[in-house]
Structure formats: C-alpha cells, structure tokens
Symmetry: C2
Subunit: 127 residues, 2 copies
C-alpha cells in the first residue's frame, strides 16, 4: 500500500495513530507514527510506530509477539490522524490488557479497572 | 466529574482525546484538550477541546449545534490519552460527515470516501 499524498506531520514529524479492533470496534491504543513507521506499516501490513519516549521506530509486538495485523486504514479530514483497524494478537497494552483504555473515570475522579486482562505483564514487559 | 490525578500533558500542555460513538463504536474524531478543556468537559458533560490551530478553547458544536454529549470517559495506561464515548448531535466532521475518518486508504495510496454525510458543510462551516 502506498502512502497517500498530503499527509500532515506535526513539528516533530509525527501523526497520531488510533487503533481499533476490526471485529469488535474496541479502541485498543493511541500512539504516533513518523513517515518511516507509516511506510513500513503500509508495506508490511504489520503496525509500526515511532516511540516518543525511546525516540525510535517500534514494531509493535516485535519482542512480545503481540503483533497488530492491518485490516483497514482511514484518514481524518485534516490528514494528521490515521485510524487503523486491526486484528490484535494477544493484548495491545503493556499492562497486560487487551486495550490500553482499561480504566473508566468515575464521578469522584477515581479510576475503575474495566478491561480484559490477556497476559501477565511481568512476563511480557515489552509491548 | 473530577479530573483524575496523574494526567500527563505534553510539552504544550495537551492530551490526545479520541472520540467514539457510544452506541455504534464508530470512531468520530481525534482532537486535543488542555487542562481547562478537560475540566469543562468533566463539569458540563459536553465535550470541549483546545484548538491547536486557533490556539484557544473550543466548545464543540458551539456555533454549529453539533454538540457531543459525554457518556463515558476512559484513560489509557500512560494517562496521556483519553477516550470519550459520546452521543453526537449531527456530525463530528466540519466536512459534513458523521465521522472525520470518512476516507479509506486504497492500495495505490488513493482515498475512497466511505462515510455518512449528515449536513452541508457550506451552511455549517463551524465545527
């Protein structure tokens, strides 16, 4: 798959990438891509990101096996965000949950865990 | 609703906010919130953002009427992204579609429109 024309990267050369389970619609994670990560994602159909904290390209699941297989890619109106519908192997979250969004905000500001745990993060610490 | 402790704003004081239709699971948009936008969203149950281009607080639908009613808020593992499940009045996208992600990337890099148009953007140009 080729990179569409007119993508708008931010001042750090990044796009926001939102990742959704293609079957259930569950929001799995939000991360960032530079042009290389986007190119590799489109070429391989395996999701690659750019890690802002580690400042490097990051093939999701490279060490953990928690690969994300691309099924559909959508762009938003501004072309600065990308929606990737995937099939997730294992869990998206390094805390061991299927989704990174595994906590609900309660009215008092506390967080309630509401997510499916799929692996022990102490054994698979590389997301 | 109170702001949870430990939110992680980026160097511009912003969080990523992903917005999903609470009933259908459709991804509607991605935008940014500063602390004030988050506080107003939690206090009023109407989604507020911070516009990076206009550099100001932005109550979604203030002029167009395309209000977003908060039904659930989730945080990701890093607390630098927020998932808001909403009921959307009208459309989320200033191009007139229900979702900003109304274009699918084809294998040759071209974009195919695949979205529900709900209003004429020439008449409602303020998202």
């Amino acid at each position: 798959m080729k990179i569409p024309e007119g993508m708008k990267y931010d001042e750090h050369g990044l796009l926001s990438a939102v990742v959704q389970d293609v079957n259930t619609g569950e929001l799995l994670m939000l991360a960032f891509m530079n042009e290389e990560a986007l190119r590799l994602t489109l070429e391989t159909n395996i999701v690659h990101y750019y890690s802002r904290s580690r400042k490097k390209l990051w093939k999701k699941g490279e060490t953990s096996g928690h690969i994300q297989h691309v099924k559909e890619i959508r762009l938003d109106c501004d072309q600065d965000a990308i929606l990737i519908k995937i099939e997730q192997v294992g869990g998206a979250c390094h805390d061991g949950y299927r989704s990174c969004f595994y906590r609900v905000v309660e009215s008092d500001g506390s967080l309630r865990v509401d997510g499916v745990k799929v692996f022990d993060p102490n054994q698979k610490y590389n997301a």
